[in-house]
Symmetry: C2
């Protein structure tokens, strides 16, 4: 079947044809639930059996800017191949893939409707005590075992070739590392923080650090990244965490994924300016978020370190001092990319609901300034950082 965006009727017909999913005569229902920018997402269910699946189809353009921004359908292949690798390395932490249809750029996968998008959960003030454990396990396993440390180094080179992802990398390169630091028409700047945003474009110390982090994003094929690991790419319950949407997957610097998680926790931390009105309650939730930031890093560090000790395939990495150097640079990259990912969500094209949905303009501006101050401080800290506690101290100083 040649490529065309599916209608709901076509989606149902396709689902009916899948092997071993629905009963032959099941009465299937479809809802298109995509609220992203790049894909159709059909929720197909059989009320009689209670069974359901997700069918995600890539669109040949980015909806966010209309049909004028064409995008390769190859990203559906990348997403589905990345999900399969991730499931093999971090079972239970990603949706299961039932089928990938290359012609239709369509991935059929496990339905996670009993989960909520983590970003929404945080905005609602929920706590997820298992999250740091889950996400650190996901990152430690996927990053370690796709790197030169944890897999055959010649196979890894072939995998770099499998995940060459120019178009989606370009979105990151433009929206994260370029636009926020220049007077770009892509930027989306709240009227009340115009001066703060303008200051980014003349801060030469900041811009140099961003240029260096961007260079690493462009050149350092360290591990197979998820590539877009924000809290909108995570489905969650108090018991379960599922990482979705790895269409930005490519071989890049590990700190970019870890930094994304930390940045989005800190964006919510800034956004709490507008959500929890009770001061003690807000302080408590923010303390929870900072604890989670610390936990994510420290559990990642511990798990990655344990894999290093037990599953290293690279004999040279046993060289005294090498592991310490590697982990320190990982922390520094993590902090730098966390900063970049915060700044872009305040002044760049795509914002986050944690802050954007704050209805009062002054409150929202306060949250935006907190996020910008934390983000720029992290960017300036990155190459000098020694400990995750410096991140917590920076965040604490801003509220």
């Amino acid at each position: 079947m040649s490529y065309h965006p599916l209608t709901e009727e076509q989606a149902i017909a396709y689902a009916r044809g899948l092997e071993n999913v629905f009963a032959a005569n099941a009465e299937l229902q479809s809802r298109e639930i995509g609220d992203g920018n790049l894909n159709l997402v059909f929720h197909i269910s059989d009320p009689a059996s209670g069974k359901s699946i997700i069918m995600k189809q890539a669109l040949p353009y980015a909806k966010v800017v209309g049909e004028s921004w064409p995008l390769t359908l190859d990203r559906a292949r990348i997403e589905s191949e990345a999900l399969i690798i991730e499931e093999s390395l971090a079972p239970g932490l990603v949706p299961h893939v039932y089928k990938y249809d290359a012609e239709l750029a369509l991935t059929v996968m496990e339905d996670l409707s009993d989960h909520v998008i983590m970003r929404r959960g945080l905005i609602e003030g929920n706590k997820y005590p298992l999250f740091a454990g889950h996400i650190s396990e996901f990152m430690a396993n996927t990053l370690f075992f796709t790197s030169d440390l944890g897999m055959n180094q010649q196979q890894k080179k072939l995998r770099v070739g499998q995940f060459i992802n120019p178009e989606l990398c370009k979105i990151t390169e433009d929206l994260i590392f370029d636009d926020p630091y220049t007077d770009s028409p892509n930027n989306n700047i709240h009227e009340l923080i115009r001066a703060d945003a303008a200051a980014l474009t003349t801060d030469t110390e900041l811009k140099l650090e961003v240029a260096l982090l961007r260079e690493k994003f462009l050149t350092q094929g360290q591990a197979l990244l998820h590539g877009d690991l924000h809290t909108g790419s995570i489905f969650i319950t108090t018991e379960s965490t599922k990482v979705i949407d790895p269409e930005f997957a490519y071989y890049g610097p590990m700190g970019f994924d870890i930094g994304a998680v930390i940045a989005n926790l800190l964006l919510n931390y800034a956004g709490q300016e507008g959500w929890i009105k009770d001061e003690a309650g807000r302080a408590d939730y923010r303390a929870y978020l900072l604890d989670t930031v610390k936990d994510v890093w420290e559990q990642f560090e511990a798990k990655f370190g344990a894999l290093w000790d037990q599953h290293l395939v690279d004999r040279i990495a046993h060289t005294p001092g090498y592991k310490e150097s590697y982990m320190k640079r990982l922390l520094q990259d993590t902090i730098g990319y966390a900063g970049c990912k915060m700044v872009r969500r305040i002044v760049g094209l795509a914002h986050v609901a944690d802050i954007e949905k704050i209805s009062d303009g002054e409150t929202r501006a306060r949250a935006e300034r907190i996020a910008l101050a934390i983000g720029t401080s992290l960017i300036k800290l990155n190459r000098k950082a020694e400990s995750i506690d410096e991140v917590l101290a920076i965040a604490s100083r801003q509220v």
Copy 2:
């Protein structure tokens, strides 16, 4: 025609079939002149017209260790595609490719018999006043215009995929970054320097620096490298320089190529212990070699910098301070890789004639110790280096 190693008769028949090279009835002669480890090299000539060509055919194994080390024939594609890119970026500085035959893993190219292998020229004590200008132009052009600085960054990612080169990279990873620092059966250690070689395996400062340089070789896709740019891969006359044999080409750190050139000049510098007997003559030639090292770097730096100023396609690279940071890191990488490439030629599998062919054992050991001392000092200097003059000072101290 399915793959098989050509006989001389078959090579002649093939050459006769080429379009627009030889006259239809030319009486062709063939000589197999390969002295490398990995290929057949036929010199095909027509004495009547004086025309000649080179036909280089990849063998499916490495001769150096017998047929037991199988090697991909894909390296012939990589070599030929790299040569074509290099010629487009540095015309006149590589042999012209007439034809590439994928089935036979065969590249038909310009004959450079009027040139000599530079390594031999240096052993004979010849000076090449144009060399630094030529090689710096070759490196500045090929490295700049295949990097994110000088070409479209999305096209560059596709090119990274085109030059995934696992097997030949593995040779480098083993022979340069691993074996010399451990008790490997691949090593080839002159009896008289056993203690010096053993010291490498316990020098933790040295081994950490090598591990870090190796990590960059494994992960940093900065530019399309030649990948094996020693003086045996350079054909030369006093007027002309031609870089050959880019079968190790892949996307890696630029300093690896620049370091290779400098390392091989310094290996000859060490080897002069055994060639020029007259002390003043030797000092003069060594001064010429050090001048050339300085020229290679400084002319590279000037030309690369001029391309940066005039042909930068990456707007972000105009960020104040970025160019200075980039060039400093390039120098540091260059110095580190130069050191690695010297050490491997003394204790690793494949040696260089500049030193290996010194007949007197004590003299050869002295040359080897000079090379080892320079190489290990460069490796330890690399991340701290500020100027190429530090390299000259290190080399001067050893003789």
